[in-house]
């Protein structure tokens, strides 16, 4: 959106209603999730989603550092979303830029809305998300990976958080934008859903959508999140080899 000066705009939707990579408007990119790939972290997950590769790790509940952030009535959540220098086309200088800091903040707030932080006063639950290869939707992939890592670490929470972006591409509402769609589309709206409550804990949006389009996008995004949610539960089942259909989310602690 607003890509001033961009030269050639690819055909984002063909006559058959297929997108640049052959997907339908309501179709997710291929996704695979691996729970527990890291040994030092308390919980971890690796998510490959389209051409995104994202690793997440969780440490805690543990001592708060720096100390002055400690809260006496609950755990604090500290999330750090970071992109590897080589994860994007043009090398990104190492360190947190403003975009990373904003994303870290909204992801932190999304998880603060579901983790039972009051069970661990005076501690910190630290979430690290590393984007190793990026192709639009990294914050959603990061949320999914972090959700799995939190479950892997045994952090009690109301539900897994599922996430996907929805947007407007060639005038149509489309699920799970890839890079070209994000760059040349008309709108992008990352969402994160708590499936059991049906409420959104992350909403961002940029571009142009009218009332009806927003409504359609929220519907499609919610549906996409529920699809992701099932994959997440499957990944956790695979990890722990629990019989299918069993674990109520409350039991994850």
């Amino acid at each position: 959106m607003g890509s001033v000066g961009a030269k050639e705009i690819p055909e984002l939707l063909n006559a058959e209603g297929r997108r640049i990579d052959g997907r339908r408007l309501d179709e997710l990119r291929p996704i695979s999730m691996k729970v527990g790939p890291l040994t030092r972290a308390d919980g971890s997950a690796f998510v490959e989603w389209g051409e995104n590769k994202v690793m997440a790790a969780v440490y805690g509940p543990r001592e708060v550092h720096p100390r002055h952030l400690m809260q006496t009535s609950k755990a604090i959540i500290q999330c750090r979303y970071n992109m590897a220098a080589f994860s994007v086309d043009e090398r990104k200088r190492p360190g947190q830029d403003r975009r990373s800091q904003e994303i870290s903040k909204v992801i932190t707030e999304a998880f603060e809305s579901v983790v039972f932080t009051e069970e661990f006063p005076k501690t910190s639950i630290d979430i690290y998300i590393e984007v190793l290869q990026a192709n639009a939707g990294t914050r959603c992939a990061g949320l999914v990976a972090a959700s799995l890592a939190l479950a892997d670490a045994g952090i009690p929470m109301a539900d897994l958080v599922a996430s996907v972006a929805v947007g407007k591409v060639a005038g149509r509402i489309a699920l799970d934008l890839k890079k070209e769609e994000d760059n040349f589309g008309e709108a992008d709206m990352p969402l994160a859903l708590v499936p059991q409550s049906g409420r959104l804990v992350l909403i961002q949006m940029e571009g142009h959508m009218n009332r009806d389009e927003i409504r359609e996008a929220l519907d499609l995004g919610t549906k996409g999140c529920r699809e992701i949610y099932e994959r997440m539960r499957q990944a956790l089942r695979t990890r722990y080899e629990v019989p299918a259909g069993a674990p109520a989310p409350e039991a994850m602690a």
Binding site: M1, G2, V4, G5, T72, S73, R98, R99, Q101, E102, S104, K105, V106, E109, E112, S113, M189, V194, S197, G198, R199, L200, V201, L202, I203, Q204, M205, E206, G207, H208, M209, N210, R211, I214, R215, L218, D219, T222
Partner: protein, 260 residues
């Protein structure tokens, strides 16, 4: 009584009040505090506006300088938004590098202006690949009594709307001329208090709030930006309802900025 305990009592009180459709300062759930926009407050800027929303005060100054276009946008100028949550404005802010709250503020304001194509950046190009205007939008919060985002966005839009391109001063034109503003996005922020979603929250309401939602709408009926913030959640229906309310408030505030 400790500060934490007194804050918790106030939070409970604010939420209880909201349940019955009332607010601490007597406003209705969808009612704003008085809003004023004072353009031209700072003479050293190329454009400026002081905005008050109730006691909340935000000053925005615009400066235009000559720079080189970015290699990937050789035909466009540059727009840069920066917000400083200076320690003068609130006991909760500290001097130092921008904190996440300030970064989110500047990015959310920037996003509404950029997504709405408020300024046509190609018109800020002077010589392709060689020379362009960089438009700095600097937001200076003076009194943080709640709803900084809307005050900051209004100040930014107000400052841009009354800005001059200093072409003569920089020797790239015969005369200075007004900066052309193509679209007028307005950002409206709400917080959840129990089952109510209230507009234009005060500082105390933000503290008590269970989720914050900001919606930017333009004059053509588009949503151009959204941001959910803080701990809390919204249902899709609540989002839709909040958008409708944003369209209504947006029209009124837009007239204020444009001086209609």
């Amino acid at each position: 009584m400790s500060e934490a305990v007194s804050a918790e009592i106030q939070t409970t009180h604010i939420i209880d009040l909201a349940r019955t459709g009332h607010r601490l300062d007597g406003r209705g759930v969808d009612e704003w505090r008085p809003v004023t926009v004072e353009p031209g407050f700072v003479k050293s800027a190329d454009g400026s506006a002081m905005v008050h929303i109730g006691n909340t005060a935000v000053l925005c100054g615009v400066k235009l300088e000559i720079a080189k276009p970015y290699p990937d946008t050789p035909n466009a100028g540059v727009l840069t938004t920066n917000a400083e949550l200076i320690a003068l404005s609130s006991p909760t802010f500290e001097p130092g590098p921008p904190q996440p709250e300030a970064i989110e503020l500047s990015r959310v304001v920037d996003r509404s202006i950029r997504a709405a194509e408020t300024i046509d950046l190609t018109k800020l190009c002077i010589t392709p690949s060689e020379k362009c205007w960089t438009c700095y939008v600097d937001i200076h919060c003076l009194d943080h009594s709640g709803n900084l985002i809307d005050a900051a966005q209004l100040a930014a839009l107000g400052a841009l709307t009354h800005s001059t391109v200093p072409a003569k001063r920089f020797g790239v034109g015969d005369r200075d001329y007004p900066l052309e503003v193509s679209h007028f996005p307005i950002e409206c922020t709400f917080v959840r208090l129990g089952d109510k979603i209230v507009a234009d929250p005060t500082f105390e309401e933000e503290t008590a709030g269970q989720g914050r939602l900001t919606v930017a709408t333009d004059e053509a009926g588009n949503v151009v930006a959204m941001q959910k913030g803080k701990i809390g959640a919204f249902s899709p229906d609540e989002v839709i309802e909040t958008i409708e309310r944003s369209f209504r408030h947006g029209d009124r505030l837009r007239n204020l900025v444009r001086g209609n």
